[in-house]
């Protein structure tokens, strides 16, 4: 029953999204007589990238125009990954050249069909994402009988599929939509692998585990920043996705000796997949330089194209002789969160993963709206922490404030000419504050919940005493 309702929700949302995209395309298309300039829904992409999603909907590494350019160059025997400009995440995206509607531009006889196909290609990953989210939730809620999963399975697809962040990215045909789906797939299979392990303990290497690692390897291959999600995912593969926030304790479903070996096994499998994907990419483009132009781009930030993140203006304004130092600082800063959060939330690796997704959305070098959309959607999986959030309302307000001001200020700066770069920078700074507030609150609530659940039972017994949670803030 619940499963059905979730599917129905996803279907309904997807139908709504497709209709919306088609309607927008129809609205933006010029009259039929001059159909030449219309290329399979590119008008919508242009509208989003110049309108509500200006600067924010896609980064240079996920821009649809860059994807099309890469395909165009590749099909004409030129090397789009040799120079470091105008290329999307990975040479594997060249597989899109199998889809003629993207690769080819110009008039097409079956315009409506190709339009629909284009919309489908960028809506399907969202449907997968929503479905994976529901599966993650199911894996997490499978043991806790108290939670009413029916409403969650209904709400989760809604908050992902109807989130303006995700819709904008999808309409702008940013490849980050695909990256989100792949990441969620990796997490969903990681959640399920453990439960299979439980039911069939004789299986050491489950099918889901391999799928999960393959998907994560693919996600890391497409954009290197996801590497910081590897440790929590390994924990998740070895541990359990269940909600154990209330029962903190050391990570241990295995003995200490076996845990290391199991972790190394998983790591090895991941490295095998990752290397294989890198080899495939190398075979596609025929040289190793693609690594420096794709992965290197997210590390060394050669393009200062504004995005909702913190890096671009900082390194635009940075003095030349300090740039390498601060590049290292910013990259290491991302890595610094991994170990503490994984250690602190070792009893609930899924929660650690969730917090790291938030950190990635706030602090990575080329974030887009869809990264924030993913973080927001992830909140739906952890309803148990809601009562312990300290300031959900201000966080939401700051987030909305930033989301509304970003396109406005980008326009004032770039199109209208009445603002300057500081306007957009200020709105992204506010966005980073919102992200930071959400992360801090998530960490707080995740730790606070343990105390509350524990305390409650005992405290009720003692009459006549008031209790107080004392913090340093």
């Amino acid at each position: 029953m619940h499963w059905l309702s979730c599917r129905e929700t996803i279907t309904l949302c997807i139908v709504l999204r497709v209709l919306f995209a088609l309607g927008l395309d129809f609205y933006l298309s010029p009259p039929t007589s001059y159909a030449y300039s219309v290329d399979n829904g590119d008008k919508v992409v242009e509208f989003i990238n110049n309108g509500p999603g200006l600067l924010s909907a896609s980064s240079p590494l996920t821009l649809y125009a860059n994807l099309k350019e890469s395909l165009w160059l590749y099909q004409r025997g030129m090397d789009p990954y040799g120079s470091g400009i105008g290329q999307v995440g990975s040479p594997l995206y060249l597989a899109f050249s199998f889809f003629p509607t993207i690769a080819e531009s110009g008039p097409s006889k079956t315009q409506l069909l190709s339009k629909l196909f284009g919309i489908f290609l960028w809506t399907a990953p969202d449907a997968f994402s929503a479905w994976f989210l529901v599966r993650i939730w199911k894996a997490r809620a499978s043991t806790s009988t108290k939670s009413s999963s029916s409403s969650i399975t209904f709400v989760l697809p809604l908050i992902y599929l109807l989130s303006p962040y995700v819709i904008l990215s999808s309409l702008a045909r940013s490849t980050s939509v695909w990256e989100n789906a792949i990441l969620l797939g990796a997490i969903a299979w990681a959640c399920e692998s453990e439960s299979e392990f439980k039911t069939k303990p004789e299986l050491n290497n489950s099918n889901s585990k391999s799928k999960s690692l393959l998907f994560l390897a693919l996600r890391v291959h497409l954009s290197l920043d996801a590497l910081i999600l590897l440790p929590p995912l390994i924990l998740l593969l070895l541990g359990s996705p269940e909600s154990r926030l209330t029962e903190p304790g050391p990570f241990g479903l295995y003995l200490r000796s076996t845990i290391l070996r199991a972790a190394l096994n998983v790591l090895f499998e991941f490295m095998v997949y990752w290397t294989a994907l890198a080899l495939i990419s190398t075979l596609i483009v025929g040289h190793w330089r693609w690594m420096s132009t794709t992965w290197g781009t997210s590390l060394s930030l050669p393009s200062m194209t504004p995005n909702p993140g913190l890096w671009w203006y900082f390194f635009t304004e940075m003095f030349d002789h300090f740039r390498p130092f601060f590049l290292v600082v910013f990259n290491v800063h991302l890595l610094m969160y991994v170990a503490p959060i994984c250690i602190k939330f070792q009893h609930d690796p899924l929660y650690a993963l969730f917090i790291l997704v938030g950190i990635l959305a706030t602090f990575k070098s080329y974030p887009t709206l869809s990264d924030h959309g993913l973080f927001i959607a992830f909140w739906g999986i952890f309803p148990e922490v809601y009562p312990y959030l300290r300031h959900p309302f201000p966080t939401t307000l700051v987030l909305i404030h930033s989301a509304l001001l970003q396109p406005l200020f980008a326009h004032l700066w770039l199109s209208h000419g009445t603002g300057n770069a500081n306007f957009y920078y200020a709105s992204t700074l506010v966005g980073a504050c919102a992200g930071g507030m959400a992360i801090v609150d998530a960490v707080w609530a995740g730790l606070r919940i343990a105390l509350e659940k524990h305390g409650k039972g005992e405290l009720k017994l003692v009459e006549g005493e008031e209790r107080e949670i004392v913090t340093q803030q």
């Binding site: 110049n50 635009t316 940075m318 959060i341 199109s415 960490v443």
Partner: protein
């Protein structure tokens, strides 16, 4: 004995001098033409030929053979540069203004792109050695001509395949020859470039045609450019220094007449010829129609041109042309009666469209003025700050989409902060048609140190170059004369230059704040504190009481629980 030896030495010396005089040859030539719009173009060229000389073989660069360079007419400072960097062919032009092909026709010297343009053919066995020498020759010429040629760095250097064939010959050393080309549209040409230029001439500006090069008038001209061309032909190395000017006599004259003379254009006359010049000639192109008078009486009239030789004459030369009537703009009645035949086979307009600072559209409109189909080689050497989207190339011929009219696309992708893009293709123009080429471009966001001092003005983009491809009867292609478009100005988004410190502080603060908060929460022990209701003094403080970690041990005994410990 002494006498004979002295005689022998003097004989030897004289023979050497004679040899040198034969080996080096200097010619001056000035061609003046009245243009359709009443302007006058004058083109000076000073040619020095070093007979039987060959460019230096780059393989001898390793051995520092310091053979002396003795020239009498050939400019030594230039010879040293050419020798040190083993340059086979070199072209440097410094121009200001837009050459108006439609009303002025083709220029005598084809390199009329705005700003500085430098290109060199160099032989070399490795790319790195060529790049090193290219850098060296850039800096040396920058010093020689007092021009900012040092800014023609790797970010502006390209190697187009077809558009710049060598004008002379390339020695067959068994080494590949490479072309390096760079242009900088915002470079201005002024007096400080002309002075070193005149110094390269054997007579400086003291005598001969170079007397006319009066800086006050040259840099007042509507269009002016100076150029240096070094090339090798089997008979020797040729250095050609040229100055091209477009004057507007209508602007100078009070009566609105297009009369011109040396005196009216240059404010000078040729008082005496350069004694070492083997020939000093002036040609005046005679107008096609109308009543006019060319003075003094030309010595020779051939192919619609009047020729003068300024050698062997003791009086001052003041060549000029007079019209009895005022100048009439022919454009006014061109629309009514039959228009003048086009001076050039095609005309070009290049624009950068789009209102925003992050993307735009490059638009080129080409009009074929002929009945015949025309094939054009189209070259863009674009700095990386403007990134092409080749998949958005659309070609329309008379508003009909014709993507088949573009072919042979070759594209070298730009590298951010390092290398410009080189885009070459062949456009086919059907007879009497207008071809529109559009392509989307993305404008880069730059680091604040990369912006030029006056950043709001924008960046000058180098001109595009169109070269007609003429198919000869035996099927081989030959290149016509190059056509340069005017440069473009691109408006890039600028950061706020006044607040690098503020941005660094703001961003670092936010990151530090989030980092601190997260780690504050992560390293915290959560404990329940039971506060007895009775003591009133504790009650007031108790709601927000600070606890040190040392206190937690005592509180543990109060039957509390801690997170992280089971």
């Amino acid at each position: 004995m002494l006498r004979t030896s002295l005689f022998l030495i003097s004989l030897l010396l004289s023979s050497v001098f004679c040899l040198e005089n034969i080996n080096e040859e200097f010619e001056e030539y000035l061609s003046i033409k009245s243009l359709r719009d009443g302007r006058v173009t004058s083109s000076f060229s000073f040619t020095t030929l070093l007979r039987d000389a060959i460019p230096r073989d780059p393989r001898t660069l390793a051995f520092d053979d310091d053979t002396s360079q003795h020239y009498t007419l050939f400019p030594l400072s230039l010879g040293q540069i050419l020798r040190q960097y083993a340059i086979t062919e070199l072209h440097l032009t410094l121009n200001a203004g837009k050459w108006n092909y439609d009303t002025w026709g083709y220029p005598d010297e084809p390199d009329v792109g705005v700003g500085a343009e430098l290109r060199a053919w160099m032989a070399g066995d490795s790319i790195s050695s060529i790049d090193e020498r290219w850098q060296g020759v850039r800096n040396a010429l920058a010093g020689l001509f007092c021009a900012s040629l040092g800014s023609l760095d790797e970010q502006r250097t390209t190697s187009p395949r077809l558009s710049f064939p060598p004008e002379g010959a390339l020695p067959d050393w068994g080494l590949p020859h490479e072309l390096r080309h760079a242009s900088h549209a915002s470079e201005h040409v002024c007096t400080e470039n002309l002075t070193p230029f005149l110094k390269l001439l054997p007579c400086k500006s003291l005598s001969g045609l170079a007397t006319l090069l009066n800086p006050h008038r040259i840099f007042d001209a509507d269009w002016h450019g100076i150029g240096l061309h070094v090339l090798w032909r089997p008979e020797g190395v040729e250095v050609r220094l040229n100055v091209q000017l477009v004057f507007d006599p209508l602007r100078i004259s009070a009566q609105g007449k297009q009369d011109w003379s040396f005196h009216s254009l240059f404010d000078r006359k040729v008082e005496k010829a350069c004694p070492v010049a083997s020939s000093t000639r002036v040609s005046v192109e005679l107008p096609n129609s109308g009543v006019y008078r060319v003075y003094p009486e030309p010595q020779e009239i051939r192919d619609g041109k009047a020729y003068y030789s300024l050698k062997n004459n003791n009086e001052a030369w003041n060549i000029g042309t007079m019209w009895p009537t005022d100048f009439e703009y022919r454009i006014c009645h061109a629309a009514l009666s039959s228009p003048d035949p086009a001076l050039v086979p095609f005309s070009v307009t290049r624009n950068l469209l789009g209102p925003t600072q992050d993307r735009g559209q490059l638009s080129i409109v080409l009009t074929n003025n002929q009945q015949d189909t025309l094939q054009l080689l189209y070259l863009e050497t674009m700095p990386w700050i403007v990134q092409f989207y080749l998949h958005t190339i659309r070609v329309h011929s008379d508003n009909v989409p014709r993507d088949d009219l573009i072919s042979n696309i070759s594209y070298v992708l730009p590298v951010p902060h390092a290398r410009p893009a080189t885009f070459e293709s062949v456009l086919t123009l059907p007879g009497r048609s207008t071809l529109t080429f559009t392509m989307d471009v993305a404008k880069a966001f730059l680091r604040y140190t990369e912006h030029p001092p006056d950043a709001q003005r924008g960046w000058d983009l180098p001109p595009a170059i169109f070269t007609p491809l003429n198919q000869s009867l035996n099927g081989s292609m030959s290149l016509g004369s190059r056509v340069y478009t005017p440069s473009l100005l691109v408006d890039l988004a600028t950061p706020d230059f006044s607040m690098p410190y503020n941005v660094i502080i703001f961003t670092c603060s936010v990151m530090a704040f989030i980092f601190g908060s997260v780690f504050n929460v992560l390293t915290r022990k959560f404990i329940v504190v039971r506060v007895r209701p009775d003591p009133p003094r504790n009650q007031s403080v108790g709601t927000e009481k600070r606890l040190e970690d040392t206190d937690s041990d005592t509180l543990n005994e109060l039957n509390t629980s801690k997170s992280g410990v089971h």
